[in-house]
């Protein structure tokens, strides 16, 4: 069966440097004295601490519970005692510390009780997903998205293609290559379980053609598994970044994942081959994800591939491979194109750490100006215009940068590699993305503040209205009371003074008004005009006289008015 392969724009043929380590079989890594397990090794919410300092833990025991739907638990990579729970340096672009659980190992490597699925081949997809989730499996290819989420077809009941990514397109890295060579059967079994979980119509494993041994091993394992194993093994041309999820989907299926969309929308789910092996271990053996294969290569004594415990300080992994040579000058976690620079060696290995790469010192060149030659444009696998993105990112014109689809940049580093002016283009794009995210956060905050203010205004208005309504109701109630009483009085009078003895009804409102008037009068009386205080006797006499005259005049006027008034 042959499949028509497709291509994507750009990409590079890079010197792959895989020969350094692809001949070295996977070997067991060291058991360090201390394991530092970060609670966030995946995309999503960090795990929640489930142990206390001083607790004895067994290998594989849960020490951090998943912190939400998109989250993954973490487990003790070996047995020992929890010695600290607190911030520790972790491999992260920010260089900030993050919450980690430190375990002092006891050297026993005693496992906790494991719970494999009884009958995995008849298990419900829900059970399979639950098991994957329990095991803390995340994408081992680099992004670290919790795998159980990607194994959930959601509203769909089935997907077209389960695509296993064995491209391993970055130079130097060989961990997946070795895994495919040595544990092809586990990968195939894992693939079948995953396929079951998402009810995939077909399952394809894609491998770049620079790994003939891995391809042969998978074919061999497939033959051994017989007809049950309906998995297609596809050889794809070696071109960086074929291993990018969207690129690989394009190459294998010809479909394009919508910008900002997920592969599931076009009926494809893509997982790394190492993830498939981990899924197999979790479901069939009940083992949580506590170790992974990591390539230690570059300027080290004996480059190799190590099955290392999560949480092992990277310095110990380097030491296990002969240590960094004197020519080494930069340590990366990941490959040379997208790897994360590490500035210290006490950082722990995390679930997504596929490679430790020591690079030699490079001649340092100051970047020259961009002359818009367009080499980056020709190399860009997302078909962007990196030269324009650079221009706008540099000018901090983020709106324009988004016009040019900044967020479709996958940061593969092809543009960096071809730039004749040696401009670190991806750094500019990361800067612009971070700045835009920052602005977005600010805007959301401002929106929230405005919403709050608007709601407060609305509430005040509503309360005012409610008060007015309540008042009107009360008034109406009083009026009806008065009316009732009046009616009752009239009725009583009409009945011939049957209620004669009763005290005459006083309208309470009238009484209140009367009382208020009296109070006001008293107050007025009490308040003396200020300029009449502290008068001399002479002044007082004059005033008195004036008052008398006024009173007399008023009396006269009253008299003269009376006849008219009475008339």
């Amino acid at each position: 069966m042959s499949r028509t392969l497709h291509t994507f724009h750009g990409g590079l043929h890079l010197p792959d440097q895989k020969a350094l380590s692809n001949g070295a079989a996977i070997r067991q890594g060291p058991l360090p004295a201390q394991l530092i397990v970060p609670l966030q090794q995946h995309i999503g919410a960090p795990a929640q601490v489930a142990v206390q300092v001083g607790d004895k833990v067994l290998k594989g025991q849960l020490i951090g519970e998943a912190g939400g739907m998109v989250s993954a638990p973490v487990h003790a990579p070996s047995s020992g005692t929890v010695s600290a729970i607190g911030p520790h340096a972790v491999p992260h672009p920010s260089g900030l510390d993050a919450l980690c659980i430190t375990i002092v190992t006891d050297g026993d490597e005693s496992w906790c009780e494991l719970h494999p699925l009884e009958n995995p081949w008849e298990a419900d997809p829900v059970e399979l997903r639950a098991k994957v989730r329990e095991a803390g499996i995340v994408g081992l290819g680099g992004a670290g998205f919790p795998s159980h989420v990607k194994l959930n077809p959601g509203a769909r009941t089935a997907v077209d293609t389960l695509l296993l990514n064995g491209a391993e397109c970055e130079p130097y890295i060989t961990c997946d290559d070795r895994l495919m060579r040595e544990r092809a059967d586990e990968i195939l079994l894992g693939a079948r379980l995953m396929r079951r979980a998402i009810n995939a119509g077909e399952c394809v494993i894609a491998i770049e053609d620079n790994k003939p041994e891995a391809i042969a091993a998978l074919h061999e394992a497939k033959r051994a598994a017989g007809r049950l194993c309906d998995i297609e093994i596809v050889t794809v041309p070696t071109r960086y970044p074929t291993g990018g999820e969207k690129q690989l989907i394009r190459v294998v299926t010809g479909k394009e994942v919508r910008s900002g969309g997920l592969p599931i929308e076009i009926g494809v789910v893509c997982h790394n081959v190492a993830t498939a092996a981990a899924v197999y271990r979790a479901i069939v053996h009940g083992e949580p994800l506590i170790s992974r294969v990591v390539t230690v290569t570059g300027e080290v004594g004996t480059p190799g591939n190590i099955q290392a415990l999560i949480g092992t300080p990277v310095g110990e992994l380097l030491a296990a491979c002969g240590g960094a040579k004197s020519s080494a000058s930069r340590l990366l976690m990941g490959g040379p194109m997208m790897g994360l620079p590490l500035t210290r060696t006490d950082l722990p290995l995390v679930k997504t750490g596929n490679c430790l790469l020591e690079l030699p010192a490079e001649a340092h060149h100051t970047p020259k100006p961009c002359i818009r030659c367009g080499e980056c444009m020709a190399a860009c696998p997302a078909n962007l215009l990196p030269q324009q993105l650079y221009w706008y990112a540099r000018a901090k014109d983020f709106d324009k940068a988004q016009d040019y689809n900044l967020f479709d940049c996958i940061e593969c580093g092809c543009c960096n590699a071809v730039c004749p002016s040696e401009i670190p283009l991806v750094s500019y794009y990361r800067f612009a993305k971070t700045a835009i995210w920052g602005q977005e956060r600010e805007r959301k905050k401002a929106d929230k503040a405005r919403e709050r203010h608007e709601f407060r205004e609305f509430r005040k208005e509503r309360e005012k209205q409610e008060r007015a309504e309540a008042l009107a109701k009360k008034k109406a109630a009083l009026d009806t009371d008065a009316l009732k009483k009046k009616l009752a009085e009239e009725k009583a009078a009409a009945e011939g003074g049957t209620a004669e003895g009763a005290t005459p009804a006083v309208d309470p409102k009238q009484a209140a008004i009367q009382a208020a008037l009296e109070r006001a009068k008293a107050k007025k009386a009490a308040a003396q005009p200020k300029n009449t205080d502290h008068l001399t006797a002479d002044q007082q006499r004059q005033i008195d006289e004036a008052e008398e005259r006024r009173a007399a005049a008023k009396a006269l006027a009253d008299d003269s008015q009376t006849p008219e008034g009475s008339a």
């Binding site: 020259k368 002359i371 367009g374 962007l384 324009q388 689809n405 590699a417 004749p420």
Partner: protein, 340 residues
């Protein structure tokens, strides 16, 4: 910065390669026309580098770091080839001043100039010193004798010609000039071409060889991936197509496409001027549109405009349009629908 440099290209080397691509044509020009072009190139290069260094110092930059990008050298050489050979020193000085200081460094240096620097320098000279800009040396074959290097130097620096020699006797109208004048006098293209000795097989005499070597240099740059094919193909394709249409419409009034291709600066402009990536459009589609504009405007200016050749004005005009072209020719980004 990436650990793996997929190619060892470096901006300074790219610029230098463009200069290399011009060497055969310049040598041929020396054989065919005499010392003029050599003096032009040497002086313009020295002036350009000097102005670049001074501007960088004035801007508080370290000239050592920037001069090695060779962009000033290239601009100087391009201007030198665009100007009439054996231009006097002050003309070259003014030209390189506008090329390097005004058109480039005042805008922020390499990568920030919206206009092609060499063409800005050229146009300033063309407008300010129109007479000096028409002093084109005819081929040695037409002149019968050649100025010695000493004579040429004394003219360039002192304006002194050897005894008994007149400048008018030394210079001659270019083929494009002749065509233009003769058509203006209601002669046909055929009459014009047979009336003057400046014409060769299908373009200017000896200019055909020079332009042929320029073309070879240009093709080598495309092969060596110094430039991409889009702009030169669009410029020359458009120029020839438009010329052919008019020629077919009225062969007496409009010269044919080959004449237009091999006369004046068409090939030089298409491969060496319009391809300046800084001031041109940047996407592949954009570059095709940009080149189309340059070719069309060039023909219009040559045939209907006020100047014998139009490459400088057409490139500068299209430089203005480049940002707009860029905005409307963004390629379809991965994952975005066929039409946005």
């Amino acid at each position: 910065m990436s650990a793996l440099q997929a190619n060892a290209r470096d901006t300074g080397q790219v610029m230098l390669k463009v200069v290399y691509a011009l060497i055969p044509a310049v040598l041929a020009h020396y054989w065919l026309f005499g010392w003029g072009i050599v003096l032009n190139v040497a002086l313009a290069a020295i002036f350009a580098l000097g102005f670049e260094a001074l501007s960088l110092l004035a801007r508080g930059r370290d000239p050592r770091h920037t001069l090695i990008d060779n962009s000033a050298l290239l601009s100087g050489v391009l201007l030198a080839i665009a100007l009439p050979p054996m231009s006097q020193w002050w003309l070259l000085l003014v030209g390189t001043f506008f090329t390097i200081v005004v058109a480039k460094q005042l805008y922020g240096g390499l990568g920030f100039n919206p206009f092609n620097p060499a063409m800005v320098g050229y146009v300033v000279l063309l407008i300010s010193f129109p007479v000096d800009m028409t002093h084109w040396l005819p081929p040695i074959a037409l002149r019968g004798e050649s100025l010695s290097l000493i004579d040429a130097l004394s003219y360039v620096f002192g304006g002194q010609l050897p005894n008994g020699m007149q400048l008018d006797a030394l210079t001659m109208a270019t083929p494009l000039d002749v065509i233009r004048t003769q058509i203006g006098l209601h002669h046909t293209v055929g009459e014009a071409m047979s009336s003057s000795p400046v014409f060769g097989l299908f373009g200017g005499k000896q200019w055909e060889i020079f332009n042929g070597l320029i073309l070879l240099g240009g093709l080598w740059m495309v092969w060596a991936k110094v430039i991409r094919w889009h702009i030169p193909v669009a410029v020359l394709g458009t120029l020839m197509l438009v010329a052919l249409s008019f020629h077919l419409y009225d062969a007496d009034r409009f010269a044919g496409p080959l004449f237009h291709l091999f006369s004046g600066g068409a090939i030089f402009g298409a491969f060496f001027i319009a391809t300046d990536p800084v001031s041109a459009a940047t996407s592949d589609r954009g570059r095709l549109i940009f080149g189309f504009g340059v070719g069309l405007l060039e023909y219009i200016i040559r045939v209907f405009g006020g100047y014998p050749d139009g490459i400088a004005f057409s490139v500068l005009l299209m430089n203005m349009a480049a940002p707009t072209i860029d905005y409307y020719t963004k390629p379809r980004t991965f994952g975005h629908g066929a039409k946005e």
